[in-house]
């Protein structure tokens, strides 16, 4: 029995879209490039904080609010409501601002990826892991205490850029948008993994020295992978922030990073279908717990139990099926017959077709 099936489905889809983007981006970084990004939440938070800190402030003057006159940290809810009302009357501005914020969050995510990786990307993976994890915690601590960013411990409310639609329509539109963004990201990373760049990052992952010997710039390859992954995480963060309508620093804890890791490792690192499966499985579990936790009579929060379960699951997978449920497949090559046909199609008697005839005879 599910209390409100439509609500359940909407939340499920939205969360799945967010986690799909995160797991696919981690798959790009860890699955294909071998980077231990233990700071996924840093880039996710980066995107969310952009949406939280910029949206309302940007539009407030047009909505007739003088930010200098009020204490924004305390009155941010009022500002958000006023801006939402303004959005309801000016759909064009709302769409423009929304697109601008999304683009900005992608840029900020990418920039954070570049900056955070700088001190450690040349070093061993353990240092990179520690630095990224620590940077994520630091951003949360700063956001909690530095009020001008996202209003400190109070958190910030985000105006609704879909306010000009009907109540159900705006939610549907938003979730459709999130899901299509997630699918686009998935297709993008899948294409990227099959491109020459994808083969190069896998070469870097499998043998740094061999890749360097073949003339590949290892540091640049890792950095590019991290920057792309972080840009995706920034996008996911902004979409998540718009969906929940508020940003609180303490929502962006390292456990989120861990969850994404569980998705990628259990689903299958180096396989985007695996990352999607992992995200689907986790979000299903999470939503079912949210539905049923009130029926369970235990003297503690069930979520803690779910973390214990996920930890055990992760370790068991690492022990008995380290390649994950859907293992990485060898990179797809062009069908041999297709190559032959292509060459045969060439009319003039070039070197290639002569060679092919020789090959056929032998």
């Amino acid at each position: 029995m599910i209390a409100d099936p439509i609500r359940f489905l909407l939340d499920f889809t939205a969360l799945f879209a967010v986690y799909l983007m995160l797991s696919v981006s981690l798959n790009l970084e860890y699955g294909y490039t071998g980077l231990p990004n233990f700071g996924k939440v840093l880039f996710f938070a980066g995107g969310a904080f952009v949406a939280g800190s910029v949206t309302a402030r940007l539009v407030a003057p047009w909505a007739g609010i003088n930010l200098a006159e009020i204490n924004y940290s305390i009155e941010n809810v009022k500002v958000a409501i006023a801006v939402s009302k303004y959005f309801a009357q000016n759909p064009g501005v709302a769409i423009g601002v929304f697109v601008f914020i999304i683009l900005l969050s992608i840029v900020v995510g990418a920039l954070l990826g570049y900056v955070a990786s700088y001190p450690a990307i040349r070093l061993r993976e353990d240092y990179l892991g520690i630095t990224l994890l620590a940077a994520g915690e630091l951003l949360r601590i700063i956001a909690r205490n530095y009020e001008p960013l996202i209003c400190g411990t109070l958190g910030v409310t985000i105006p609704n850029p879909f306010a000009w639609m009907g109540i159900r329509a705006q939610e549907l539109a938003q979730i459709a948008l999130m899901l299509s963004a997630a699918i686009l990201v998935w297709v993008f990373v899948e294409k990227l993994a099959r491109s020459p760049f994808g083969r190069m990052i896998r070469a870097v992952r499998d043998s740094e020295i061999a890749a360097a010997a073949m003339g590949k710039d290892v540091v640049k390859a890792r950095m590019t992978s991290l920057v792309i992954g972080s840009a995706i995480a920034g996008l996911a963060g902004a979409l998540y922030a718009f969906y929940t309508g508020a940003v609180h620093a303490d929502d962006y804890v390292p456990i989120r990073t861990f969850l994404v890791w569980v998705m990628v490792i259990v689903g299958g690192a180096g396989n985007n279908a695996g990352a999607a499966l992992g995200a689907l499985a986790y979000v299903t579990m999470d939503r079912l717990i949210a539905q049923y936790k009130h029926y369970l009579a235990v003297p503690f929060d069930v979520n803690y139990l779910s973390y214990v379960f996920l930890g055990i699951l992760l370790i068991l997978i690492l022990m008995y099926r380290p390649e994950g449920i859907l293992p990485e497949k060898p990179s797809r090559t062009i069908d041999f017959e297709k190559v032959v046909k292509r060459i045969e199609g060439v009319k003039e008697e070039g070197m290639l077709s002569k060679l092919l005839k020789k090959f056929r005879r032998s």
Binding site: P36, Y127, V262, L318
Partner: protein, 319 residues
């Protein structure tokens, strides 16, 4: 002028950090991975002590052996059931790191569950979150009042570092331990039981973290997140120390401890007025600066070469 109580506070804080950093370094030396669950060994020590203190009214200083054994056994059990099997199966460094993060989150969640259950099971005036333990003794020296924690933690650090030093240099087992850590392949050919040596390292690492945890509630309010919150500083201390020597960990612990306590005190004074909540930023800065300038830590720096470069020593380096 920095107040004397700030300096004494820095000594206590550093002592705690040193106890944690030595342990982290010990486990790092065995499997070459930073153990993200190290902070939770501290939390386990905190709860062992606090439970005994609350339910049996035992002074925290008396519970030190129990906390040592409890956290040490926990670390040993995790090494035997998780890290050793994974390492034998050839799991990559990243795989081992994510396993340690999984253990971190599991232990922290278990501690949360324990805190929830105990808070409900005990009378309403007994808390299992945000608790402190009252200091039991003070000593007055000249005009300065020295807390029991200051004396106990300093004595513990001196005693334990000395014991470790003697163990590693003067006993057969200690020499075998160093050999096994330096070159496990060669050591096992020479008949050293590398598995046993690693197991002892993990037990000692957990035990030292447990000792730090046992006295931690005297200094600050503790909850299931306390050990995790300390982890960043412990990493800063061990990275600064070079991750490969327990003396480096001691040095790193004192530098990070003093930098945090004295540094945040100076930064919170009038011209800057920084909130003390930014304290962890100091550790983070230390990590980043160390990685940029001396990625292998202070103990790996060739100081004579540095001095020659800065023209501090005439004639340059002889080598």
């Amino acid at each position: 002028m920095i107040r004397i109580d700030i300096l004494l506070d820095a000594v206590v804080f550093s002592n705690l950090l040193v106890l944690m950093s030595i342990g982290l370094t010990l486990t790092y030396m065995t499997l070459k991975i930073p153990n993200f669950a190290h902070g939770d060994f501290v939390t386990f020590g905190i709860y062992t002590t606090y439970t005994m203190y609350r339910l049996m009214s035992i002074s925290p200083y008396m519970t030190l052996p129990a906390a040592f054994l409890a956290s040490g056994s926990l670390a040993l059990a995790l090494y035997l059931t998780v890290f050793r099997p994974l390492s034998k199966r050839g799991t990559s460094i990243v795989g081992l790191m994510i396993a340690s993060i999984a253990i971190e989150i599991m232990l922290r969640s278990c501690m949360h569950i324990y805190a929830d259950v105990m808070t409900r099971a005990t009378p309403p005036n007994v808390f299992f979150r945000g608790f402190i333990i009252r200091e039991t003794f003070w000593i007055s020296l000249a005009n300065v009042k020295l807390s029991g924690l200051l004396i106990a933690s300093t004595a513990l650090v001196i005693g334990l570092v000395l014991t470790l030093h003697l163990l590693l240099t003067r006993t057969k087992f200690g020499v075998a331990m160093r050999a096994a850590i330096e070159n496990p392949g060669l050591a096992s050919t020479l008949g050293i039981n590398v598995g046993l040596v690693y197991a002892v390292s993990w037990f000692l690492a957990g035990g030292l973290a447990g000792i730090a945890g046992a006295i931690l509630p005297i200094k600050l309010p503790c909850d299931p997140e306390t050990g995790w919150a300390f982890l960043l500083r412990v990493f800063a201390a061990t990275i600064l120390g070079g991750f490969s020597s327990i003396y480096g960990a001691v040095l790193g612990g004192y530098i990070v401890g003093f930098a945090e306590v004295v540094g945040i005190y100076l930064l919170s004074l009038p011209p800057i007025n920084l909130s003390t909540a930014y304290k962890p930023a100091i550790s983070f800065t230390i990590i980043v600066v160390t990685l940029l300038i001396a990625p292998r830590g202070l103990t790996a720096v060739n100081w004579r070469a540095v001095a020659a470069k800065l023209h501090l020593v005439k004639g340059g380096v002889s080598k």
